[in-house]
């Protein structure tokens, strides 16, 4: 589904990303881990064509992301709060994203009703703008907005950060459900090795911009990752 070819990104002589070849298959749930500065967000931003790679390119469903914009119809993402429109209420934001993705209000409402647990009564009907919500609640809104309109590729950068324990558990279930759908490819990055081993079928470890491990998740994975990061 996603193919990365000879991708490098250099900021004034400093290479922050260097991936020769990486294929993420359709229906996969893909986890990205790495320390700060490993290049996780840079990779995700390149997949979304938000930064221009120094060399190489990325294909999304066979579409070169920097040449055509057709991948946008099948891809959605939540990277950080710059994906939220601060002066809208959560509902307005969902409907706005819905309209962009060709979903009418009823479609969006139907989707949202499935996330009442996840929202925990803190998102809908709040009489607050998104910018006035807490970081955790902003994240909830952003993640759910990324699920509107049946995207085939979903990119979530650090979705577990800032969430309370209950919501983390619920989010894991949501991602697992998405992963179970053979049509949906989920890309997740995290600092939490436990969460990521639990929800992802495949885990890639980035270090200083390079792929240092590529693991199909199994019982032993968590241990292996812990050992890697405990060096």
């Amino acid at each position: 589904m996603i193919a990365v070819h000879n991708l490098t990104k250099t900021y004034s002589g400093n290479t922050v990303l260097n991936i020769d070849n990486l294929e993420i298959h359709k229906g996969n749930s893909f986890g990205l881990v790495g320390n700060n500065g490993a290049g996780k967000t840079t990779l995700f931003s390149s997949i979304l064509d938000l930064i221009k790679p120094t060399t190489g390119h990325i294909e999304n469903k066979g579409i070169k992301v920097n040449e055509s914009e057709d991948w946008k119809t099948i891809t959605s993402a939540f990277i950080d709060e710059t994906f939220l429109i601060g002066y809208l209420t959560a509902e307005e934001y969902f409907y706005f994203i819905g309209e962009l993705r060709g979903q009418n209000k009823a479609d969006v409402d139907a989707l949202l009703s499935g996330f009442e647990d996840f929202f925990h009564g803190e998102i809908l009907g709040q009489k607050k703008y998104l910018r006035d919500l807490s970081k955790g609640n902003q994240k909830k809104a952003g993640i759910v907005a990324a699920l509107i309109g049946k995207p085939e590729v979903i990119v979530l950068d650090e979705p577990f950060a800032n969430l309370d324990p209950t919501t983390q558990i619920r989010l894991k279930k949501i991602i697992k459900d998405l992963a179970a759908d053979p049509e949906v490819t989920v890309l997740v990055s995290s600092h939490d090795l436990m969460h990521v081993t639990e929800v992802c079928e495949r885990i890639v470890v980035l270090d200083k911009g390079e792929v240092v491990k590529d693991i199909a998740t199994s019982e032993a994975t968590l241990k292996e990752l812990e050992e890697h990061f405990n060096k």
Partner: protein, 491 residues
Amino acid sequence: MFKHFINLQWKSFWRSATLSSSLWMKIFMGFWALYLIVAMVGGSFGAYYFIEKELCLDPLVVVNRFLIYWVVADLLFRYALQKMPVINIKPLLILPFNKRKIVSFAFGKTVFSFFNIIHGFFFIPFSILLIVKGGHSALNVLLWNIGLIALIYANNFLNILLNKKDNLIFLVGGILAIFGGLQYFGYFDITKYTAPFFQGLFDTSYMVVFPIIVLIILVIISFRSFIKDLYLDAGLASKAQSVKTENLEWLDRFGKTATFLKNDIKLIKRNKRARSTVLVSIMFLFYGLLFFTGAIETYDGPVWRIFAAIFVTGGFLLSFGQFVPSWDSSYYPLMMSQNIRYKEYLSSKWWLMVIATLISTVLASGYLYFGWDVYLAIVVAAIYNIGVNSHIVLWAGAYVKTPIDLTSNKKAFGDKQAFNTKTLLLSLPKMVLPLVLYAIGHYAYSPYAGYALVAVAGVAGFAFKDKVFDKIESIYRTEKYKTLWAYKQKK
């Protein structure tokens, strides 16, 4: 202690991500300030001699009559333009700084603000003339000046207090407009009641105490309220008001564009900074008064009419349009990764400007009072604004890469954005072309030929709409990564 504050300020200026453009802007602002200073000094001489020689009145008395407007206008300008004394307070709170020191430094900075000093350039020459030419007593002139200084500084602190409230200033501005109107049409003259006060400052020595007391009270109030506000859940908190979800479904008739149009209307309604563009356009509505009333002689030329009319109808268009797409800077990554057609996005902004121009044109029908001719100029300018300027403004905006902090309404003017050679070049057809067109028609044939030329140019502009939109789209595309990067640089 102050040494640290000054050090921090120094670093925050020199290390800001947008230094290069802001340095240019500082230079530009410098010229602008110089212009204002010269205008003020010139104005003081001009006013003195004009009143004395032409009107054969005592300059002091006449100036005293209008001082009330001076003071209120000063307050309005401050509210719109003066930056609040914000230093990066949060990290300082838990350090061993005395809170009083933090506030005194912040306030101390405002004392030296240009907005306070500029008045001196009018009043000091004027006072010297009063003493030397008018033969007034130096002591009285001095007392009068002290009174005025106290009032100006009272404004300074009043503005600090007013800035915390959102809509109070509209009230002040509205009252000013009403009294101004009443006076102009000769129904009620507020200056009759205020002039004795200002005259009193001059004549009666103890009167000067009143403005000083007002100033002291305002300093104390604002000092106290700022100290009280130095808590994360008080003044430093971002205010969260209770809001309702709005659907604005009536806009759906605009089709795909409606998606963005709905957003843009919310953008303007809900963000201080965006709202101030509406304020600007209202101010520009009255701008024409300077021209059409013949208040200022140099503006009496027929070509100036078109100039004024462009601003009267295009206030919103010019102030909002120049920052497309910067209005969406805080969520630009979303816009760039979502399923968005640039054309729809652009045409939403375009419609918004067109609607605002039409509303301004209707509101400007008050200018009918000055004759059909004047209103005709306004209608013609509106056509030109819609047909030509709306496109050019969007085009120029595509080169502006300054992130906008929607929640703060300061820096709405000038301050570093919108200033590069490309936008400057593009401002020529906005302003100069209609004037030239009109002048050609006016002097070659008749005023109506001039109007017709401008209007035809406006209508012809429509033909280029798609072309310009294509051009803007390609700018957006080629500049995408740079723009994303630039928007990431918070001040």
